[in-house]
């Protein structure tokens, strides 16, 4: 019997270890698994490498992890935004290491990990200083840079609905990094708004099949 539903946010993040690489979904405030990130914060897990598109804003989610000095390293495409105060503070003080990755390369590197690839060549960034120290190869007359797969120990993802097998559907643009991150981590933890019965999700419409999902928790549950 497969039942990936867990009863609480604490159960959802249980066992995530200090030093883990954590993929955190979301783009701006869309699709961010806020409650899961705060559960991780409450659990006290620290020394994290966080892979995420933005570095949080204000006092919530990744910004809160940065404020509480739980993040050793951040792999990110756009850490700077209105309200990314805690990232800027920690970065300026040299307390957090930043690996800046073009957004498409960030996504593609996680997909490469999900697909078991050893890496790929892309023209994105090949002419830029982000290619420094990396292998560059001319393919078809164009410079390409070699990019390595980027795997997570954990992925924290937000979706709309799940069944007990962990099949997921998302809502509008909140889908963003979810499907790729879910497939790229050893342990994938998902927060959803709603549980549905097995068989209720149309098989043509499942976006993330349950094979990629380990734990699902409903947020806002009593």
């Amino acid at each position: 019997m497969i039942d990936k539903r867990v009863a609480s946010l604490a159960d959802a993040v249980a066992g995530i270890e200090d030093g883990a690489t954590v993929l955190v979904g979301g783009f701006g405030a869309s699709g961010v698994p806020v409650e899961l990130v705060h559960a991780l914060l409450d659990q006290g897990t620290t020394d994290l490498t966080v892979v995420t598109n933005n570095a949080g804003s204000g006092e919530t989610d990744v910004a809160a992890l940065l404020r509480e000095r739980r993040v050793r390293r951040i792999v990110c495409s756009y850490p700077r935004s209105a309200g990314s105060v805690w990232f800027e503070e920690r970065w300026r003080a040299g307390e957090v290491e930043l690996e800046l990755v073009p957004q498409g390369t960030l996504s593609e590197r996680m997909r490469a990990a999900a697909a078991g690839l050893g890496g790929f060549f892309t023209p994105t960034g090949a002419d830029s200083r982000l290619a420094e120290g990396k292998e560059v190869r001319v393919i078809g007359g164009r410079r390409h840079v070699f990019e390595e797969p980027l795997r997570g120990d954990v992925a924290l993802v937000k979706a709309a609905r799940a069944d007990r097998w962990g099949n997921l559907v998302y809502r509008t643009a909140a889908r963003n990094f979810g499907p790729t991150m879910a497939a790229a981590a050893e342990l994938t933890v998902v927060q959803v708004d709603e549980f549905v019965e097995l068989g209720e999700l149309d098989p043509e419409v499942v976006v993330t099949p349950g094979i990629f999902v380990d734990r699902v928790v409903r947020v806002g549950a009593a």
């Binding site: 756009y78 957004q103 963003n176 976006v207």
Partner: protein
Amino acid sequence: MSPGVRLEMRDVARRVARDVPDGAYVNLGIGLPTLVADCVGHDKEVVYHSENGILGMGPAPAPGEEDPELINAGKQPVTLVPGGAFFHHTDAFLMMRGGHIDVTVLGAFQVSETGDLANWATLDATHPPAVGGAMDLAVGAKRVLVLTTHTTRAGEPKLVPRCSYPLTAAGVVDRVYTDLAVLDVTPAGFCVREMVAGLTREDLQGATAAQLSFADDLGVLAP
């Protein structure tokens, strides 16, 4: 040059919009380029792409109708038009990186005469860097248009022989639209296609660090 000769950037955006073909798949960079969508005529059906997984992005919703998850690359609320679709980030960037976007309009700090683009980082190292989808779009779109003021606020030329700012991508820019001129990047460098009225060739060259050539059928850049 005489003051007031420069166009408003909104009018330059209107000029860009005239070059967006009917039926095109278009990605507009954040900031100034988003003005272009408002200027594309209703006689054209253009499909807007957003890097966060949207095709068929529509205008801003009415106040109170915002969906906090349905945002554009600049994190502003948007809508979806009939025929639109959602997909995940990796597919969104496959479209950008794989040559599926017909036209992108980007801002720039500098453009070089060989089409190099610098639009992601300044030389200010006290500011944390951020790149987003700038490099993916610059290398991947079929046609890269740049919409920018001709000079910086301090009056320094943005069209240069060689970029001094960190490169986004080399040799990618097809055409530049400024408040003074429309210029193509050609194998021989910048070629001016249109200039605003009241400007001399010498004025324009004076505001440009790169060497300019002028099209035989040089036109007037008008809103």
